[in-house]
Symmetry: C2
Subunit: 433 residues, 2 copies
């Protein structure tokens, strides 16, 4: 009997984070951090787990999209799927009817990504490896085979990608030892949510430095005098040597971003993140020209590799921020890592949310192992939220992510957490209404 | 008693068009033209109808997204909604939790647009006007108030938009008389679907010319020798004076588009439509530089005004193709019309599908009345599909759209059609399985 995929189970999981203003920023004053969760089940009893992070309302729509794609997945032979996950991803993203709903963007792209990622979880568990080690152990040809080059060749050809990967193979064993010993640098956004008062900001900023984080990040963009005061408080708390990045979460237009950042410039922000619409490539390029030496960072809402390609071609950003659940899965993120390496721009993943730290650390570590081969100028975002719900929560030591050693992609949640926070019938919600 | 919105009813409507290869192109070989249909109902018994066009699978996801937004709509006072449809649109698109699913793109943006459009239908019926006349009768200030300028000001300020609209008010009465007498020019894609054989292509091409259409359009991009043969057949059929546009439906990468169009250039295509990813602004700019004097057209999959802004800023396209149901509704399309006018680029709307002709004609006519104030280089796509299902089907005479005179936005379908083609339980589907 051929082993096949027999079920795609979905679940609407929401955490009532808005009650405490965790995660509050200029565009998201009251998020309820949520996961459109899925489990791929095979006829031999194996499971692949994955999720899409959302901020509350609409999580049901994301679940519906994942469920709708099950018609393309259930019944497929597992060996065929796992043996060519590049082809699997292209088949899902290329379905001519579903594709119309994007193309390659929004709810349908995130649904595609979630299923691709669940298949990666299945494969990683079958091979007994954490995703970063599984990916890093693939041949350059296998890695290139994950990428859909249709719209990318004008910036990166498969041959160039192969060259990059081959060049990065030197010293990989030493990098793996270093990763397992010392982990990967992190910065933290925990102190900087807009909804926190000044005392909490100062206290958490000091704790972040004491914990060894390389940088802290503050949300800005609601009120200029608040931003100036909060930057002053944070600077006093962390001292002059710890970088402080700021994040506007898309609140500004292009000229407004330039003006606001001129006002914040005396505090030497390390980067300005999401100064404007994530789709505005030319806008980011103009902002970057105007605000330098302050770096420009974006990408957590970047819909697909075509957007990242252009941000890089236009020299619009200094920092590429990949997200674990926004694009069409690990395959698309591999494409983005390769593009960033080609253009020599560091990748500092977006994390936080629900399970984003657990998942995206694998991509940063794969980048270090097999693509950029460096940690210079690179760090993974860290937020101290909701990790207790994960079977393999991230582990930090001295402000660095420890390299995960358990098999999988990191998305699996505890059954008890899934039950407790299922919306709207789980106890966490039923008792609140 | 205040009149309020009391219900948002949705319906999954699909036509089995794939059985006849109507609508077949390089990326969409077997579409089942579909509508995620909605009705807004008020406490005084009025209705606003609208839809999102999709091509089959996933129409249920689009329906779910529209339904999910009902929590933001049901209960609102009708006068408040209809009195400031700009604010209404911004409120829907700006909901901080739903916005995460885009932002401003894909399923959630189309859902927002569908609800905004249903509200416009309600208002147009209440005022007894077809949408184009309702919009054209608004003051410049009211029109500018429809637009979300947050991300657009670097290309178009509200003051510039006001100036454009004021300048276009000269001669409006004469244009209205001309529109009512002579209608608006059209071109047709009916002959050019990839699934049609050579005889059908030749016959339909001749009919198109005889019917007075200004241009025909052929789908290309699957096979170069087929494209060359089909262009020859079409050119023989229409004679040397009727322009022939070609449409690749996003099949190519940037360099491939340039090479393929070099091969088609001897047939002097009027434009190449969707040569590559709809998100690739810089790619379209490169293609345009390479293929001139062949024009570059795109926009039917353009997710939001920020994308159109950049296509115009980068001088990437010669023709802006708005779509009635892709962006966040009529408000976003007004923004795009204003941007196109600012940059002096003609708008030739995408149509066909389900109800797209019926809806988008209003926007082209509004453009003529109040924005660009010209029909030069402008025409609306026409496809002879599925019009019989609409209460107010488009009417063409001599290859021109007649100006609609019945109230509304044109999206309302016959109750019998809705019942027949509801998926999966309507008779059209139940009998086929």
């Amino acid at each position: 009997m051929t082993t096949s995929i027999v079920e795609l189970e979905t679940r609407d999981v929401r955490f009532p984070t808005s009650r405490f203003l965790d995660g509050s920023d200029a565009m998201n004053p009251f998020p309820d951090y949520s996961a459109a969760y899925l489990v791929l089940r095979t006829s031999d009893g194996a499971e692949g787990h994955s999720l899409v992070f959302t901020v509350g309302r609409g999580n049901d729509v994301q679940v519906a999209a994942i469920q709708a794609l099950s018609s393309l997945v259930v019944g497929l032979p597992v060996d065929e799927v796992l043996g060519d996950l590049g082809a699997f991803g292209r088949r899902l993203a290329g379905d001519s009817q579903f594709r119309w709903l994007g193309p390659d963007k929004g709810v349908i792209a995130m649904a595609t990504g979630a299923i691709v990622n669940a298949a990666w979880d299945l494969r990683a568990r079958r091979e007994g490896l954490p995703l970063w080690q599984l990916l890093a152990g693939l041949s350059p040809e296998e890695i290139v085979g994950l990428v859909d080059f249709r719209y990318l060749r004008d910036a990166l050809t498969p041959a160039e990608a192969l060259d990059l990967l081959r060049a990065a193979s030197d010293g990989r064993a030493a990098r793996e030892r270093r990763l397992l010993a010392d982990g990967y640098p992190a910065y933290t956004t925990t102190p900087g949510w807009l909804g926190y008062d000044d005392e909490k900001l100062a206290r958490l900023s000091k704790e972040a430095v004491a914990d060894g984080f390389r940088m802290i990040k503050l949300k800005v963009g609601s009120d200029l005098s608040d931003d100036l005061r909060r930057l002053r408080i944070a600077r006093d708390a962390v001292g002059s040597d710890v970088p402080i990045a700021v994040d506007a979460n898309q609140i500004w237009g292009v000229d407004e971003a330039i003006e606001w950042m001129a006002a914040l410039a005396p505090y030497r922000p390390y980067w300005i993140e999401e100064p404007t619409s994530p789709d505005d490539i030319l806008g980011h390029a103009r902002i970057r020209q105007a605000v330098g030496p302050i770096r420009v960072a974006t990408g957590e809402h970047g819909a697909n590799p075509v957007l990242f390609k252009q941000l890089l071609q236009a020299h619009a950003i200094d920092v590429v921020q990949i997200d674990a659940t926004r694009v069409g899965g690990i395959n698309d993120n591999v494409a983005i890592l390769l593009l960033a390496a080609k253009f020599g721009v560091p990748v500092c993943p977006h994390a936080g949310g629900v399970g984003l730290c657990e998942m995206v650390q694998h991509l940063a570590m794969f980048d270090y192992m097999a693509v950029s081969a460096t940690q210079d100028g690179r760090m993974i975002e860290y937020v101290d939220h909701l990790h207790q719900h994960f079977v393999d929560p991230v582990e930090l030591r001295g402000g660095r992510y420890r390299a995960p050693t358990t098999p999988g992609i990191g998305a699996r949640m505890h059954a008890a957490s899934l039950a407790e926070f299922t919306y709207p019938d789980g106890p966490a919600w039923a008792s609140s209404t």
